[in-house]
């Protein structure tokens, strides 16, 4: 079999699609003015920039003045959480134990600053419980932040139910939708959301640019100060080409939903079915409530990075929640939170599908994997019997 190039790490990042790059290009060397400048070179760029805001807002079904452009999902999360915390001064925050570090570690830092935080546990599928959520709400709770879908195991949370409870108790609701925007249909206005974070490079837009949706009327304090751009919430000369790229990528991605999501889910299911047919391979995450492109399995008795490396030698790009691969020694907090034992967690691999993946890619992976697994298992001192 010939070595192919199969990219199945769309959860990590995606290529910029051609139409997006083309939309960006004029803004490097021709339309290069600073949008804050009063002269024609500035005004032309301001116009295009605000049009990009309009397109972004329209793609999300919100108002243009509810969109703040940032440098990515991490910054969007930090601005929302820290901004709300700074505004409130003190109080209680609720989040889940499987958030991305850009939420989880912000919460830990806020604890150091005197806030109290509840980290909701999740069940074996990665779902939080609505009862536990509701009963964790205290009079001093001002914010709940629950990710729309998990980046590692793909589990999709019931954010509309969370929103309803948050509304009932009058607490702010933030969702990290970095993995969802552009991949699944989303109706912000029906979700009682106060904040939503997104990042362009997850939906075939450029790296280093994202956005925060903040519901009109919701007040937070800025973290950084400067020239007053983005209505003072995110100062600094605007990343104009990046924002143009974000808006174009989002418009295209959302325009292709829900069909694209259905196609992706078919590929995903084909891959999952093929993988779990292998002995001692288990699916991580929820069997149905999962991102259309996310496949996460654990190969028992072997370690994730060695699987990853073997896949790489066959031209397949995937990722792992394994300790060794990230340089840290512990398996990912997500895999621990869903209750995987150390060893199963270490054998986890994520294949994240996206634009450009086709059936033949799935079949190629399914053809390759058994020999990889066999080889590594034969090398392993750990056996079914011994576990």
């Amino acid at each position: 079999m010939n070595k192919k190039n199969v990219y199945m790490d769309h959860g990590a990042t995606t290529p910029v699609r051609q139409e997006v790059l083309e939309a960006m290009l004029p803004f490097f060397s021709e339309l290069y003015g600073n949008p804050s400048s009063l002269h024609a070179k500035g005004r032309d760029v301001r116009k295009a920039f605000e049009e990009a805001r309009r397109v972004t807002a329209a793609s999300l079904g919100v108002e243009p003045d509810e969109i703040y452009f940032t440098s990515g999902g991490t910054e969007s999360n930090n601005i929302a959480l820290r901004g709300a915390a700074k505004k409130h001064g003190s109080g209680h925050i609720i989040t889940s134990s499987i958030e991305h570090h850009a939420v989880l570690d912000v919460c830990k830092d806020l604890e150091k600053q005197g806030f109290s935080v509840t980290y909701l546990p999740v069940d074996k599928y990665g779902l939080i419980s609505m009862e536990e959520f509701e009963s964790s709400i205290k009079p001093e709770t001002f914010l709940v932040s629950i990710m729309a879908a998990n980046n590692e195991i793909g589990t999709v949370q019931p954010i509309s139910e969370i929103g309803a409870i948050a509304e009932k108790h009058k607490i702010l609701f933030h969702t990290d939708a970095v993995q969802v925007v552009g991949q699944m249909p989303l109706n912000i206005k029906e979700l009682n959301l106060d904040f939503l974070s997104l990042s362009a490079h997850k939906f075939n837009g450029p790296k280093g640019v994202g956005a925060l949706y903040k519901r009109k009327g919701v007040k937070i304090d800025p973290l950084y100060h400067g020239g007053g751009q983005e209505r003072k919430l995110r100062p600094g000369t605007e990343n104009v080409p990046g924002v143009i790229g974000l808006s174009k990528a989002l418009e295209l991605a959302v325009g292709e939903l829900p069909q694209k999501a259905e196609e992706l889910a078919k590929l995903r299911n084909r891959l999952i079915e093929g993988l779990v047919r292998i002995d001692d391979v288990v699916l991580n995450g929820h069997p149905e409530k999962r991102l259309p492109g996310n496949v996460n399995v654990s190969f028992k008795y072997i370690e994730g990075e060695s699987v990853l490396l073997s896949l790489d030698l066959h031209g397949i790009a995937a990722s792992s929640g394994s300790a060794c691969s990230s340089g840290s020694l512990d398996p990912s907090h997500v895999l621990s939170a869903i209750g995987l034992d150390h060893q199963t967690a270490h054998g986890s691999i994520r294949f994240s599908l996206g634009r450009g993946n086709a059936e033949e890619d799935i079949d190629y992976v399914l053809d390759i994997i058994p020999s990889i697994v066999d080889r590594l298992r034969q090398m392993s001192p750990i056996r079914k019997e011994s576990c």
Binding site: E303, G304, S306, L309, A323, C324, D330, Q378, M379, S380
Partner: protein, 127 residues
């Protein structure tokens, strides 16, 4: 991430498997990262005649295991005792800093095997 030599050892590890008639077996595991190595030695006249390993671990752990077996094959027990984790990493042409701990596995398992071997030989080997 890994240099060519590491990848080559990972891809074509030497001396993989078990030795049913091993004179000594050593084992080492990192509780923290979960990596585990088992090493089998066949010793004749104080010389390591044959060696096999089994490793559960990342690319660096597997390559280090393979390299270690190459290094020690044909060496005396005492020479083998001198082989350090650093030697293994050096012989591989270096490992990423974050992966150095993975190479520790191999030499430590070897030392465990040699200790077991000496125990089995009793005080005879003691001096």
């Amino acid at each position: 991430m890994y240099n060519e030599k590491v990848v080559e050892h990972f891809n074509n590890p030497r001396n993989v498997g078990e030795l049913p008639d091993a004179d000594a077996i050593g084992e080492n595991g990192s509780f923290k990262c979960g990596d585990t190595m088992k090493i089998y030695l066949k010793v004749k006249d104080g010389i390591i005649e044959d060696v096999r390993f089994q490793t559960y671990g990342c690319g660096a752990a597997i390559a280090s295991s393979s390299m270690l077996t190459e290094i020690i094959k044909g060496k005396t027990i005492d020479e083998a005792l001198q082989v350090s984790n650093q030697d293994v990493a050096d012989e591989l042409g270096g490992l990423p800093p974050l992966k150095l701990h993975c190479s520790n596995l191999a030499a430590d398992a070897l030392h465990d095997a040699i200790a077991n071997y000496k125990k089995k030989q009793g005080s005879v080997v003691k001096d």
